[in-house]
């Protein structure tokens, strides 16, 4: 992730924000054919599945998280694929791991310790996740605390009300403050798109977050009623494309929540490849916020190797 220059942000361009329009029906029609215009088979499919696996922010965000289950998750993050499958695929030398482990602040030290030496960063959800309505000062301090605890990536939530009421300056200032609080840690801005009502709102919020310095824009906390969808992704990644064209800065994209199957994952990768290009198939610019997705990817990879449909319980659980 550190290979790319970070997004310094730029002044808020309100005219541009207000000019953004997303036609929902058109976006839905495009989304509906992403997975029907492209497909991958055989070793190409295996490569794409493996790619998906390395792009996962392996996540646990539950009230009942304990050091025990977080350490188990981290162990899986280091070795997401059974060694015999790595071998059969001929990818042992690639040392595939997931992209990051994503936890609540309280679990950051445990995860940092468990991942030591792996190179896998720890991401902390922050700023009063998931609703983001705790006192602003505390939200900013939470970022500092997580960075202090060793988190290298901070997934913040925005105040949805700023979007719903068109307070773009307030949103910009909020994200800018979060960005400053992150220091060297990378900032992922969760828009909670399921609560933003319209694709136009999603696109506008994406734009404001990027101008305010987001390194990544992310769909969801996983706690909203609707999580990552392809139409929402189109609305967001097309703003990333505009931002790249305008500033030269590449912003990452993280769909999160609801992505459970290999088939879904491939659709997202194809969307990235088609709308943004090959660069956005790297962990520096793309992540899945997911947990159960990993097991389905393992199963599909095993099927490629053996030719037989695979069972989940044959793969070490995260």
């Amino acid at each position: 992730m550190s290979a790319l220059p970070r997004n310094p942000g730029e002044p808020l361009d309100l005219d541009r924000v207000r000019a953004i329009r997303v036609n929902k029906s058109a976006a839905e029609r495009r989304a509906a054919t992403i997975g029907t215009r492209r497909t991958v088979k055989k070793q190409w499919q295996a490569a794409w599945l493996l790619r998906a696996l390395t792009l996962i922010d392996l996540t646990t965000l539950s009230g009942d998280d304990t050091p025990g289950n977080v350490r188990r998750l981290c162990a899986k993050a280091r070795h997401p694929l059974r060694p015999d499958l790595e071998d059969a695929l001929g990818v042992t030398a690639l040392h595939p791991t997931v992209a990051a482990v994503c936890v609540y602040h309280e679990m950051v030290p445990t995860a940092v310790e468990a991942l030591e030496g792996s190179g896998i960063p720890v991401a902390a959800v922050s700023t009063g996740f998931p609703a983001g309505l705790s006192p602003f000062k505390q939200r900013v301090e939470e970022i500092g605390a997580s960075v202090q605890a060793g988190a290298r990536e901070i997934d913040v939530v925005i105040t949805r009300g700023h979007v719903l009421t068109g307070q773009w300056n307030a949103l910009y200032d909020e994200v800018r403050t979060f960005r400053d609080a992150c220091g060297d840690a990378h900032l992922k801005v969760i828009l909670a798109t399921g609560e933003l009502a319209t694709l136009t709102n999603v696109a506008r919020a994406s734009w404001v977050a990027m101008q305010a310095g987001a390194d990544f824009i992310k769909t969801s906390t996983g706690k909203e009623g609707v999580n990552a969808t392809l139409p929402v992704s189109l609305a967001m990644v097309r703003q990333i494309r505009e931002y790249k064209a305008r500033t030269g800065c590449s912003i990452g994209y993280k769909p999160a929540g609801g992505i459970r199957t290999a088939k879904q994952a491939l659709e997202f990768l194809m969307l990235m490849n088609e709308e943004l290009g090959r660069d956005w198939l790297e962990p520096s610019l793309f992540r899945f916020g997911a947990s159960s997705l990993l097991t389905d990817l393992e199963r599909q990879l095993e099927m490629f190797v053996t030719g037989r449909y695979a069972a989940a319980h044959h793969h070490p659980m995260p």
Binding site: E28, K42, Q43, W44, A47, L281
Partner: protein
């Protein structure tokens, strides 16, 4: 072979071929050679020609070249099957159509693969678009079969229908033709395009297996000659054709005067209009769907991009980036966007048109990636620096070639959009509903998609304005093409000629003078053009005499220049009249009736004098005319369109739009009522009219213009030119700015008018059959209203 580790870095897509073994096995089972499918069985393989896989140029199979004898046999089989099929209870026919829908679904992939092999379009399209739409069409029309008795009460099937379909959507076009025909109780002889016969043959075989009675659907293969034999076959009652405007015109002429019902779905150069407030990323995908769908071989392809000047370069940049990402290749590959052009001859046509565009100054842009060397492939192409005067802006290229022009204002966008002889479809892109819904009705096209492109559904009629043809396919509006009124006296050819009086030139001479009335002032009936009484250009008058040869008066002897002037006047009035409210038109029609009624006795006397009828008969005619005017005043604000239930979040508005400027050659008989029976429905629905009154009895119509003048009818809405009916009607029929012509007259006149109408593919409604105008069942109502409008379907997806 690339390893997983290598592919993990390259992230290429790799090949993803759909298996074609089952389709090839079906071909092999037929010995890779096919006869026709006639009367529920295969005929012997005759003289054959090859059908090719356009992506490889390799032969797939041989199909038979249909001869006149084959066509005879097919028509005979359809004729034989007709009585039983047409008398089948609606529910029984519905069961058959339902079985066909299920049959298509059961063999969906076989149809898709065979279609892709034969046509070259990507398997994604045949699998996800063509075949599902085919099944949908049969389901929808199973419904119309079920409802035929109630929803088309008083109507029945036309008879044996000859259908000729193109190669761009072979199976889908078959379904658009066959489903409504069978639902209405017709039997069918269908000729697929010679490039793409295979899925029609497969369909016929499976349809027969699914229990469709022998002879109900017959398939004959062959080229244009086979098609011509079908078109000209005397035992065929209707021709339905989809294809080029050029061939459409030939068919129009060939069937002229034959009484064959005709529907034509022809070419297009459809505008794709982008306003500056549109979602440009959505627009880009809309363009992909518009012009790079089926390699642009789509009659309604959005092939003329009209973009607001201020955003043109931004949009072009986005389009070029998108084009770079399109994948073109073997059409059976599940990961390509574009496949092959149907045949080398089409590829050559595309190439030469693009080169012509380049020579005329267009900037031609194509993606950097290479196009396969073998097979008929052509890359997606964007031409800028194109102007209405450029050949490629006017001619239908029928390939993946988008030409772009800019506009400054909505008004200019509409002008550019309509600057074409075609009128099939249009796309309008704006996030402003006020703008989009203002533009859609102003575009001369049978289908308008708002913020979308190439949406189709069985419930929504499809078809053109202008030289894109006439008739609709799909929905209720499409069903009308396959039914006729039962017990309809109108079809009795020649009745009118028999009852009509001899032309005036043959009247007994000398003409006895008008009685010198005490102090009567000489009255001069003039032409009525642009709301003014006009002297005829010729400077001649025609005598109007009673049956006993007494001079009743004189009318102007109109000529082609008078017609020209009248058409211009009608055009000048057209825009305002078409956009006036139904309420206003109703008020004016009521007012005309009121003022006519006030002069009842005078008109009755005039009719009696001209026709030799009794005073009572004259009064009956005037009273009927007043009632008729009331009828259309009533309809003026009630001839509603419909909202179709298409499968999307949105609406498809089936708008009843006036056809435009309509020429009317009024019947000779019923000099007042006949004229009013034609003119009133036309103006009630927003058309403007050039009327040629009854040739022997024109004075009732010329008296009428005084009624118009006192009834607030705007100038130019109705224009009256007296004179020799067939000579004047011929001028109207050939006039390229007249949109339709209604004609009551002789057989020879019908033929001449139908031939001349092909010049601009104007709609014709012509008959030599007599009409009992006093009988409201035949002289007024919905059939007239349907002929007076054309249906425009405006698709409006919504959602925020």
């Amino acid at each position: 072979m690339a390893t997983v580790a290598e592919l993990f870095q390259s992230m290429e897509y790799g090949p993803a071929p759909e298996a074609d073994a089952p389709a090839r096995a079906w071909l092999a089972a037929h010995g890779d050679a096919f006869g026709h499918f006639i009367g529920g069985t295969w005929t012997k393989v005759g003289k054959t020609f090859e059908t090719f896989d356009p992506s490889t140029g390799k032969s797939l199979a041989r199909v038979s070249q249909g001869t006149a004898k084959d066509v005879d046999a097919a028509v005979a089989a359809a004729r034989k099957a007709y009585p039983a099929w047409s008398r089948l209870a609606p529910h029984a026919r519905a069961r058959h159509l339902y079985a066909l829908a299920r049959m298509v679904q059961k063999h969906a992939r076989l149809f898709a693969v065979l279609e892709t092999l034969d046509n070259g379009k990507p398997i994604r399209e045949t699998r996800d678009v063509d075949v599902p739409l085919v099944a949908r069409h049969f389901y929808h029309h199973a419904g119309w079969a079920q409802l035929a008795d109630t929803e088309f009460a008083g109507y029945g099937p036309v008879g044996v229908v000859g259908q000729i379909i193109p190669w761009n959507f072979p199976l889908l076009m078959l379904s658009w033709k066959v489903a409504p025909a069978l639902a209405a109780g017709n039997t069918v002889v269908l000729k697929p395009a010679e490039f793409t016969s295979l899925t029609a043959l497969l369909f016929a075989e499976f349809a027969h297996q699914a229990g469709l009675p022998a002879g109900v659907l017959n398939i004959i293969t062959g080229d244009g000659e086979t098609g011509a034999a079908l078109v000209n076959h005397p035992k065929v009652d209707k021709i339905a054709f989809t294809g080029s405007t050029e061939v459409g015109k030939i068919i129009r002429k060939a069937t002229a005067g034959s009484g064959k019902k005709l529907s034509l779905e022809l070419g297009g150069k459809s505008p794709f209009i982008v306003f500056e407030d549109a979602d440009l990323d959505g627009v880009v995908e809309g363009v992909v769907d518009a012009i790079w769908f089926n390699q642009g071989q789509v009659c309604c392809a959005g092939s003329r991009l009209l973009v607001q000047e201020g955003i043109a370069e931004t949009l072009y940049a986005k389009l070029r980036a998108r084009m770079e990402k399109l994948r073109l290749g073997p059409p059976l590959d599940k990961a390509v966007d574009m496949g092959a052009i149907v045949a080398p001859v089409q590829l050559e046509r595309i190439r030469s048109l693009v080169e012509q565009g380049r020579a005329e100054g267009a900037q031609v842009w194509q993606p950097s990636w290479p196009v396969p060397k073998t097979g008929s492939f052509y890359p997606p192409t964007l031409c800028t620096d194109v102007f209405p005067s450029s050949t490629i802006a006017q001619v239908e290229i029928f390939g993946p070639v988008l030409v772009s022009m800019t506009f400054r204002t909505p008004e200019e966008a509409v002008a550019l959009a309509n600057n074409t002889p075609f009128g099939l479809a249009a796309s309008v892109w704006s996030e402003n509903i006020n703008l989009a819904l203002d533009i859609a009705p102003k575009i001369k096209a049978g289908v308008v998609w708002v913020n979308a492109s190439n949406l189709f559904d069985a419930a929504s009629g499809f078809g053109g304005y202008r030289e894109s043809g006439f008739g609709r396919e799909g929905g209720r509006e499409g069903m009308w093409e396959y039914v006729k009124q039962m017990g309809d006296g109108r079809r009795e050819k020649g009745a009118a000629s028999r009852s009509a009086r001899s032309p005036i030139a043959h009247l007994p001479t000398p003409i006895s003078p008008a009685p010198a009335g005490a102090g009567a002032i000489d009255r001069t009936a003039k032409l009525y053009i642009a709301g003014k009484q006009a002297r005829p250009d010729s400077g001649y008058s025609r005598a109007v005499v009673s049956p006993k040869g007494r001079l009743l008066g004189e009318v102007g002897d109109g000529n082609r220049k008078d017609i020209r002037n009248a058409v211009e006047a009608a055009h000048a009035a057209a825009k305002g009249w078409a956009s006036s409210t139904g309420h206003l038109r109703a008020q004016i029609l009521f007012y005309i009736a009121e003022n006519l009624d006030a002069r009842r006795d005078e008109f009755a006397a005039r009719i009696g004098a001209m026709t030799g009828g009794t005073a009572a008969a004259g009064r009956r005619e005037v009273d009927a005319a007043v009632r008729r005017l009331f009828t259309y005043a009533a309809w003026a604000d009630k001839w509603d369109g419909a909202v179709h239930g298409v499968p999307m979040r949105g609406v498809a508005l089936a708008m009843h739009e006036p056809i435009g400027v309509v020429g009317v050659a009024a019947p000779s008989e019923a000099p007042l009522l006949g004229c009013i029976s034609a003119v009133a429905p036309l103006i009630a629905t927003g058309n403007t009219v050039v009327a040629i009154p009854s040739e022997p009895h024109p004075l009732a119509a010329t008296d009428l213009y005084q009624v118009f003048e006192t009834s607030d009818l705007p100038a130019g809405v109705v224009n009256i030119v007296t004179g020799e009916r067939d000579a004047l009607a011929a001028v109207l029929a050939g006039h390229e700015d007249v949109d339709a012509i209604w004609y009551w007259g002789s057989d020879a006149g019908v033929t001449a008018i139908e031939i001349a109408s092909a010049a601009n593919m104007k709609r014709t409604w012509c008959t030599s059959a007599g009409v009992d105008w006093l009988d409201a069942a035949h002289g007024e109502g919905r059939p007239f209203l349907r002929e007076a409008v054309q249906v425009k379907n405006i698709w409006i997806p919504y959602g925020e």
